[in-house]
Each structure stands twice: as structure tokens, then as C-alpha cells.
């Protein structure tokens, strides 16, 4: 690690001092032309990059498990998005609709009408207040997906910015920033998140959701920062970065325009693998009664309800539990597949 840090310092300082000592050189025509050539090379690399994406896509499609994962993820996502509306249209049930008739106000097994006959009305049965479990599972999917995606986005922004900055600046700053990450790594942060959510419950259910994804995002950016830093360290001494710096591009611009696009591959892979972990954390917190609050539901809170009624109404646990497990399973396979596709060096031999 230390040797890697020294290199960039030596190489990084040279062009800056040169530029400071002799600025007019940059104004000379031929020099600019050369710089443009360099830019052409850079854009050339970007063209090559797009075919890299196409290659990766082809490799992904060859991986049966990853395709299975992709299909299931899309299926569950789409049905969570349109399912609740469709069910409302067809049967009139929504996730929080409690039937007025006391006859309907109890738990029915899947595919059973109140009279005990086969019926399509509730393919997953109803819960002990008579609410349609299918509608609840799909609505819960909306919340679980939303929390997972937004929290991942939060962790993505923090992690990429932090890692890219530390890696590009290098030296003592990098050392300090990475030491902070090391320290945060070994903290039992779940415990702190539990304290936070238990002691500072938000006023509204929406506020609670916001708190949830900020809390989850804030604790899951560490690995992302490490990955991005490692990538940036290996990229920043390559010619295209040197060229950009020589033409006077500012540091934030180099990081944003030149470095980050080149670390997108690992970032996407890791983000795909972050989604299931965040989803699991959300479900874990909701299971403990710290996450999503009623009347809203998520897969975690549905599983918690189901676990309470396990002995009498097992389907209240089985359907949300299996749906969530299937989603996590598929997301993990998709993430693994993406890693194999985007990073051929890391492929399983």
C-alpha cells in the first residue's frame, strides 16, 4: 500500500511544477495539437469501452444462472410496481384494505373462498384481519425495493466520491482517509443503527423511510470506497490521466470525467451485490419493529407478522419469506454473473 502511495506523489507533482514554472508553453500551437491527439486517444478508449460493455452483455447472457437471476429480478420488480394497482382493479383489495364484513375478516388459506371452495380471489390467502396477502407482498416489495435502491444509491455516492478522492489525492490524505475507513469497518455499526432507529423514531412513516435509507446507506459505503480507491490508484498514473492533467484539466474534472467512468465496471458489480445486503438489513430492522411502520409494509415486517401467527396461519410467513428469499437469491446470482462478465480476470476458472 505504501509503495503504491509513493509513486503517484512523484509523478503527480512533476507536471504541476512544470506548468507553474513555464505556463506559456501550453499556449503554443503544436503542443495543443498534441494534447488533442491525446484526447482522441482518450475518446478512442471510450469507443473501445462501449464494445467492452457489449462484450460483457454477451458474456452475461451466456451465464444461465445470471440470466435466471435477471429474469426473476425483473419479474418481481415489475409485478411489485403494477401488481397492487392491478389487484385493486380486479378484486378491490389493497395492502391495507380490511373487509367490513366480519365473515371475511379473518385468515383464509391460499386459493380458498370464505366457504372453503377453490377460488382465485386470494392466491396467497388473507391475513388475520382479512387483508389480501398477495397485495401485501407486492406492496411490501415496492417498499423493500425502494429502500434497497435508494440506500444503495446513497452508499454509491458516498463511497465513489470518498474512494476516488482518496485514491487520486494520495499521500497522507489518502492514508488518513483509509485509516478512517478501517476504523469504521471494525465498528459494530448495526448496534448503533438499532439505537438510532429505536430512540429517534421519525414522526411520519415517510420520515421513517427516509431515516431508514440514510442510516443504511451511511453504513454500507465502506467497501465501495475501498474498491474505488484501489481502482483509481492503478488508473491515475496511466497516460490519459497524465494527458488530461497536462492540458490543464482541474482535479475535480479529472476525477469526474476521466477516472470515475473507468471504474464503473467494478462499481456496478459491487452496487448490484450491495442491493441484496441492504434489502436484508432493511428486512432485519423491520423484523425487529425498527424499520417500516404500519400501515406501510415491507417484506421484513410481513415476515415478522407471519412469524407471530406461525402455528395457525403458516402461509402468512411462507409467502413473504419465500418471495424475499427468491429476490435475494436472484440478485446474488445476477451480481455474481455481472462480476464474471465485467471482470474477466476474476472469472472462475
Amino acid at each position: 500500500m505504501d509503495e503504491q502511495n509513493k509513486h503517484p506523489g512523484e509523478l503527480g507533482d512533476a507536471p504541476v511544477t512544470e506548468r507553474g514554472a513555464d505556463p506559456p508553453v501550453l499556449q503554443v500551437g503544436p503542443e495543443m495539437a498534441m494534447a488533442e491527439d491525446v484526447h482522441a486517444v482518450v475518446t478512442g478508449e471510450l469507443v473501445a469501452g462501449s464494445s467492452l460493455w457489449r462484450d460483457a452483455w454477451r458474456r452475461l447472457l451466456k451465464n444461465k444462472l445470471a440470466v435466471f437471476g435477471l429474469v426473476v429480478v425483473l419479474l418481481i420488480t415489475v409485478s411489485s410496481l403494477i401488481g397492487p394497482v392491478a389487484i385493486k382493479k380486479i378484486t378491490g383489495y389493497s395492502y391495507d384494505y380490511i373487509p367490513r364484513e366480519s365473515r371475511l375478516n379473518k385468515s383464509f388459506p391460499p386459493f380458498r373462498s370464505p366457504e372453503g371452495q377453490f377460488s382465485w380471489a386470494h392466491p396467497m390467502g388473507t391475513d388475520n384481519a382479512g387483508r389480501d396477502i398477495l397485495a401485501r407482498v407486492l406492496s411490501g416489495g415496492q417498499i423493500s425495493l425502494m429502500v434497497a435502491l435508494i440506500a444503495t444509491a446513497v452508499s454509491l455516492v458516498i463511497g465513489v466520491a470518498y474512494g476516488a478522492f482518496a485514491g487520486y489525492i494520495g499521500g497522507g490524505v489518502d492514508d488518513l482517509m483509509m485509516r478512517i475507513v478501517d476504523v469504521l469497518y471494525s465498528l459494530p455499526y448495526v448496534i448503533i443503527v438499532i439505537v438510532l432507529l429505536a430512540l429517534l423514531p421519525a414522526k411520519t412513516p415517510t420520515g421513517q423511510l427516509a431515516q431508514l435509507f440514510i442510516a443504511l446507506g451511511a453504513v454500507s459505503w465502506l467497501t465501495m470506497a475501498r474498491i474505488v480507491r484501489g481502482q483509481v490508484l492503478s488508473l491515475k498514473n496511466q497516460e490519459f490521466v497524465l494527458a488530461a492533467r497536462a492540458t490543464g484539466v482541474s482535479t475535480p474534472k479529472i476525477i469526474l470525467r476521466h477516472l470515475i467512468p473507468n471504474v464503473l465496471g467494478p462499481v456496478i458489480v459491487y452496487a448490484t451485490l450491495t442491493v441484496p445486503t441492504v434489502m436484508l438489513s432493511e428486512a432485519f430492522l423491520s423484523f425487529l419493529g425498527l424499520g417500516v411502520r404500519p400501515p406501510r409494509v415491507s417484506w421484513g415486517s410481513l415476515a415478522a407478522e407471519g412469524a407471530q401467527n406461525l402455528a395457525i396461519y403458516p402461509w402468512q410467513l411462507i409467502f413473504p419469506g419465500v418471495t424475499m428469499a427468491l429476490m435475494l437469491f436472484s440478485l446474488n446470482f445476477l451480481g455474481d454473473g455481472l462480476r464474471d462478465a465485467l471482470d474477466p480476470q476474476m472469472r472462475k476458472q
Binding site: V195, L199, L200, A307, L328
Partner: protein, 306 residues
């Protein structure tokens, strides 16, 4: 080596300080306190209680006392469980959580390493594919779904095992919680072992061992496992942090009187001394455990020198 250990021990102190201060700050920031519960106390009674527990002193005095308490490893008295010190509760709950966590981790090590090694030795065979698919399943099924499902099958349908009870170490009541908790570690350890072994089996020193004419079993046991298990060892550090989250859930699912259950209840009850006591205790154990893992690394891989 000694310098490395000393440096790491010195780092533990500020980290503990950060965790405790953060927790304490959150408790302070939160509106209300232990006495704003459903049970309304007479103002005079509350006043007396606050005086007794030192809750009417200015914040910096209280904060200093919290830090001093941790330095002495004496966390004061619980507000909820009257007359019991936090230390008493800790020492009562710790054996439950430790037994659960340790048995789960041992199960995971045994099953995970065996499966992972088999998968690596028979790469691309059906054993490999089946065990890796099972491992993915283990990672994907949340323990709060797996636990109730196991209860449904083994307690409520087959009547083999108790659904919730705590009878100490060698008892039937430990089986379901331990299996529930271990599932995800079995999966992780099997995957880590497999990839570690695959890498090691291709290395030069394994070729040398084979060239010497060692039997395949001896090559695996004496040479490959030691290097192939390094990822598993480094996983043991984060595993403890996971294990703590896992025990919280499993203790709740099976109603076990462990640290996790006390911790969640303390958070809901706003039992300040108990929250801080448990957080500090968990933080200390995680930090010390990470240190042990780092040290044991050096013993396993002779190439690593500090």
C-alpha cells in the same frame, strides 16, 4: 510483531470512545427519557429516582461518569430491572449468546470447510454445482424466515424439538437456534473455502508436494488447507459482527434470554445504563476479536510478517 499488537491495542481505546460517545449522544438527543413511558410517575417520585441515578446532574458530569464507568468496567444499575446491576445482567445473558454463537460458528466451520473443500477438489462436478447453489440459498434466506420455518417443520409438525426454550449447553433446545444462526456462515465459509482452495491447489508448493509423491489426502490436509483457509480466517473478524446481528434475530425468534434480546428491550425501554453497557461490551469484544484474528493470520501464513 509485539509492536504491531501494542499499536492495535492502543487503537482500541479511541474506537471504544467513539462508539460509546455516539451511543450516549443518540440517547441524549432523543426526545423523552426512561420516565416518559406509559406508566406515569408522581413528580416527586420521579425527582427522587432521577436523583438516585444521578440523572439530574449536568450533562458533562453524566458523560464523565459514563466514561469512568466503562474504564472500570462497571456500568451502573439498570433502570428497568430494578436492583440489578448492568454487570449482573451482562454476565447472565452473555453465556446464552456466547453458547449460541459459538455452537453456530463451529457447525458452520465444520460443514462449510468440508463442503467447500469437496467442491474445490471436484471442481465443475455435480457436487460443486449443488453445494454452491445451496450456499447461495443459505446466503439468500434471511434467518428470521429460516428460523420460523424450521420451527414449523421440526416443532409444530414433527414435534421433534422445542420451538422456544433455553436449557443451557447440551440440550435439544439449542439445536434449532444454532442451525438457524449457522446457515449463512455455512454458506459464506463454503464459498470462501472453495475459492481459497482452488487458488492454492494451483500454486507451486502444492505441485512440489505432489511431486514429492505425497498422497492426495496428505497434500490437501497438510499443505493445501492451511493456505486455502486464510480467507476463512480473515472472514472470522467480520463474522463476529454478523454473528451479533444474527443472535439478535435468533434470540428474538426463539425467545432466548441472551444479550441481543436484552439489548433490543433496553432500546425500547430507554434503559440508558443497560444500552450503554451492552454497546460498550459488544464493541470491546468485536475489537478484541478482530485483533486476535489479525494476530492468528501471522501464524497461519508464514509469508506474513508484521
Amino acid at each position: 510483531m509485539l509492536r504491531f499488537i501494542i499499536r492495535r491495542i492502543i487503537v482500541i481505546v479511541p474506537m471504544l470512545f467513539i462508539v460509546v460517545s455516539l451511543t450516549w449522544g443518540l440517547i441524549r438527543l432523543a426526545p423523552g427519557n426512561f420516565y416518559t413511558g406509559e406508566k406515569k410517575l408522581a413528580p416527586a417520585v420521579e425527582q427522587n429516582l432521577r436523583e438516585k441515578y444521578g440523572l439530574n446532574k449536568p450533562w458533562h458530569v453524566q458523560y464523565r461518569r459514563v466514561l469512568w464507568n466503562i474504564a472500570r468496567f462497571d456500568f451502573g444499575t439498570s433502570l428497568k430491572y430494578e436492583g440489578q446491576s448492568v454487570n449482573q445482567i451482562l454476565w447472565r445473558a452473555l453465556p446464552v449468546s456466547a453458547t449460541l454463537g459459538l455452537s453456530a460458528y463451529l457447525i458452520a466451520l465444520f460443514v462449510g470447510i468440508t463442503t467447500g473443500t469437496l467442491a474445490a477438489l471436484r471442481q465443475n462436478s455435480w457436487i460443486d454445482y449443488a453445494s454452491m447453489a445451496l450456499a447461495m440459498l443459505g446466503i439468500s434466506i434471511p434467518n428470521f424466515v429460516l428460523g420460523p420455518l424450521l420451527v414449523l417443520i421440526f416443532s409444530l409438525t414433527l414435534f421433534w424439538l422445542p420451538p422456544a426454550l433455553w436449557n443451557g449447553f447440551p440440550s435439544k433446545s439449542l439445536i434449532l437456534p444454532a442451525i438457524t444462526l449457522s446457515a449463512i456462515y455455512i454458506a459464506y465459509i463454503a464459498r470462501l473455502t472453495r475459492s481459497g482452495m482452488l487458488e492454492v491447489l494451483r500454486s507451486d508448493y502444492i505441485r512440489t508436494a505432489r511431486a514429492k509423491g505425497l498422497s492426495e489426502g496428505a497434500v490437501v490436509r497438510r499443505h493445501a488447507l492451511r493456505g486455502g483457509l486464510l480467507p476463512v480466517v480473515s472472514f472470522s473478524g467480520p463474522a463476529l459482527a454478523f454473528l451479533i446481528t444474527g443472535t439478535v434475530v435468533v434470540e428474538r425468534v426463539f425467545s432466548l434470554p441472551g444479550l441481543g434480546n436484552y439489548f433490543i428491550n433496553a432500546c425500547f425501554n430507554r434503559d440508558e445504563p443497560l444500552i450503554i453497557g451492552i454497546v460498550a461490551f459488544i464493541a470491546i469484544s468485536v475489537l478484541v476479536f478482530n485483533l486476535i484474528v489479525d494476530i492468528s493470520y501471522g501464524f497461519l501464513d508464514p509469508r506474513i510478517r508484521y
